[in-house]
Subunit: 167 residues, 4 copies
């Protein structure tokens, strides 16, 4: 199971703490983490995941794998700039958004367009032509975010990561 | 001056009417129109612009220029899927959003991230962590949208389209 | 009719001269030119086209339209890096390659994959597993390149640019 | 260390056999494999790698992870079409090309442009303006390809995959 965690490259201490806990919990549930591979929320979630032996993928905007934060196991250097935002969410069976700026908003939009569930922690809320759009599932804690993400990812049709028993 | 007009490939009669009028007015102001090149709002704005002798660019997701609506003068077949949403707005000095679904939301996000002014007609509204984000400039008519877009585009640093006196 | 002209951002005086003549001739035949929008061959072909009142499109790798050379009428700021190479050729009904480095080679590859005719002036030649691949149509002058490109573009199924009688 | 293996989605039995052996040998050397995630050479190399307990990444053109071949551990659904060819090679420290059509040629071009070493097995050869371009390092066996790729990848500046001791 691959869960995307999205958020800004610069974030508050509180957001970083949330992201780190999300990373720890996802790793404890054997979920692979995919993110944008840079700093802020992306770095915190990877750091948390690695502290629990998880696997982390960083999908980078640039051409240089060495731009990935040090907690990324698998850097994907796309070279397509912020079009990589699309790849981050479409590779996942569920998305957890923590805080976030306009880049995160574009990722939320791509996920919802594709029907991938988005769980939100202190993130964007949306209204369309005066009516609330409640597609983002709001939660209040890292634990709740991870529980929802994993439950929804199981229901969402997607690629099952092959067991890597011999690695 | 290039103005992006964004909105859904399927839209209400009212939205199509708004988009057509926006296209007519932009063409009367000698603004080039860039859009996603498909149906709905994109087709209506191109149709309006062509009725007033304007120039229309359609930035397509696929590999086939013939997918453009018949009112597109210059189809750009990007082949990069919905990453083309980024190209639509970044090529413009201002953006007019009419209605719109999640694809339009991703375009609004990319424009705001890049600091390109977004004028909204019956479109998304945003709040972040409980606080309204008023970056989208709300207007109530096609005329107001075009006036704002042109005024803001003039202030926005961007490429000046070369005069095409001899064409 | 849209013809792509591809080549390196730094080129020899001879290549620049060839590119300028190609631009002049394409404009005389009312062909719209699409290119990568930067310097070298791209700038020379746009300059030639503008001297004959042609229309030029520059599909840029970055997010900033002002990076286009001064002879580009319509800059498309894709933001997708060298993935824009794909958009340059797929938007055209024929491609003229002048000299060129590895970026040009990627454009030739994308065009041939899509079945778009490629005419070559002092450019790459290809062999596969020891056998010559003669898909690139070799010519020896700017005039021959333009004649071939226009003849082949007419046969290649593609979008007909709408007449812009009133612009 | 990440090594890209590139080749066509439809390939000869001999190419599939070569690719499978390349996958086995890379996995035995603890190299992670990145490829385009589809059939043909891509499937054969993943299959070989998995038979030796390796880790495989498939960078897909579409939006749907389930399009990956069954031997892909980590499918990246980019949604950017054949712009994903760029991501396949730029994420690697060396590239092994087996046979291949124009898509493979675009990947070779992107790798050489970026200075990433390309090792070729029965693949394209290049000449520029009449002069051979010997940038592709030709080898005659799967073992030689893997030895060269690993030796060159070690010299090529790139991201060191973090140890995954606990996975």
């Amino acid at each position: 199971m691959i869960i995307a965690v999205i958020g800004d490259s610069s974030c508050s201490t509180e957001e970083a703490k949330l992201a780190k806990t999300v990373g720890e919990l996802l790793a404890q549930h054997d979920a692979t983490i995919i993110c944008g591979g840079l700093s802020g929320v992306m770095e915190a979630v990877c750091r948390g995941a690695k502290s629990e032996g998880g696997l982390t993928i960083g999908v980078l905007p640039g051409e240089d794998s060495s731009m990935a934060n040090p907690w990324v196991d698998i850097p994907i250097a796309t070279g397509v700039g912020y079009a990589r935002n699309m790849a981050v969410v479409k590779s996942a069976q569920a998305v957890i958004a923590i805080g976030g700026n306009y880049g995160t908003l574009s990722e939320i939009a791509y996920a919802l367009k594709r029907g991938i569930p988005v769980i939100g922690l202190n993130t964007w809320s949306l209204a369309r032509n005066g009516q609330d759009d409640n597609s983002i599932i709001r939660v209040n804690s890292a634990a709740e975010a991870v529980d929802k993400a994993i439950a929804l990812a199981k229901r969402h049709k997607g690629h099952e990561i092959a067991p890597r028993s011999s690695s």
